[in-house]
Symmetry: C2
């Protein structure tokens, strides 16, 4: 089973401004053709999602639920109940990530999409992430929420491929 992150960062490594704002990202691609940077292909390969509460709240603000047909798990210690509008769409989970991954594997998940900065950091720290795809946006923000955080020891990765786009975005995939 693959446990995958797929995320964009600024050139200085931020996934959002300090307040969570990602408008800089939404506005970054001003090329004519709408390029999806391989997102649909990635998304089609995913049958499960794990995200934090912040990501869930961001997705709730979208006009339509983008994860129809996928099993979605939201990590939260604080939430005791699923928000009404997501009742049949997500499962809440708090507890061991190793157990969660084992459970999803037993439920025949083939690929889990790990979303959100903190969630990705937790999966890296628990050595559960199998691959990460980072799309570098050619902008410096100077400060913000970092994709990566502290780790217990160095982690060497294997570079799989990189691709650059006319917009200046550079997408690189690494395996752990």
């Amino acid at each position: 089973m693959k446990v995958s992150a797929y995320i964009a960062t600024s050139l200085d490594g931020y996934i959002a401004r300090p307040n969570g704002d990602i408008n800089w990202l939404m506005e970054a691609d001003n090329s004519e053709e709408k390029e999806d940077y391989g997102y649909k292909e990635f998304s089609d390969s995913v049958d499960c999602m794990v995200m934090g509460r912040n990501s869930m709240e961001m997705v709730m603000s979208f006009p339509e639920w983008p994860y129809e047909g996928k099993r979605v798990v939201v990590l939260s210690n604080a939430l005791k109940e699923t928000p009404t509008q997501l009742k049949d769409k997500v499962d809440l989970y708090s507890g061991s990530l190793v157990k969660l991954v084992t459970e999803l594997e037993n439920d025949r998940c083939k690929r889990i999409y790990i979303d959100g900065g903190k969630t990705i950091q937790s999966f890296i720290n628990e050595e559960l992430l199998t691959d990460i795809t980072i799309t570098k946006i050619p902008i410096l923000l100077g400060e913000g929420l970092s994709l990566f955080g502290k780790i217990k020891h160095d982690i060497k990765l294997k570079h799989i491929e990189s691709k650059s786009y006319p917009s200046g975005f550079v997408k690189s995939t690494y395996e752990f």
Copy 2:
């Protein structure tokens, strides 16, 4: 005139460990052929260098002076005198970077190589850098000295080219 940075970072954006150690970088390329990642071509295009005192001290520890034939300026407010062994090799400078760049341009420098994390950040903040080449090493360090720092406002860059190598290094060049 070009004012260029050319530097390697970990995947999480560090140029060195917190204590300045770059052994992780020296040990990162264990591929058979010794690839120089375009360094010689870049170095041959450079006729001037500007570096901070930390970089100067690191270079002094090398068995041989690597910048023969180039004009080298060391930025330092603290140093009052050039170290004896570098007397005929470097000029000390403290003061306005804009003035320094103008002076080097008047002296017919075609391309200045800006080296060292703090020095690069200063040149970015003064809007003096014209291009940056970053070679991403496929390793996470978790902490260290960041290539980029705080800036006054967003800076959009233009992606020029990216190239990946069998070692897993990915080199990207951007113009400001």
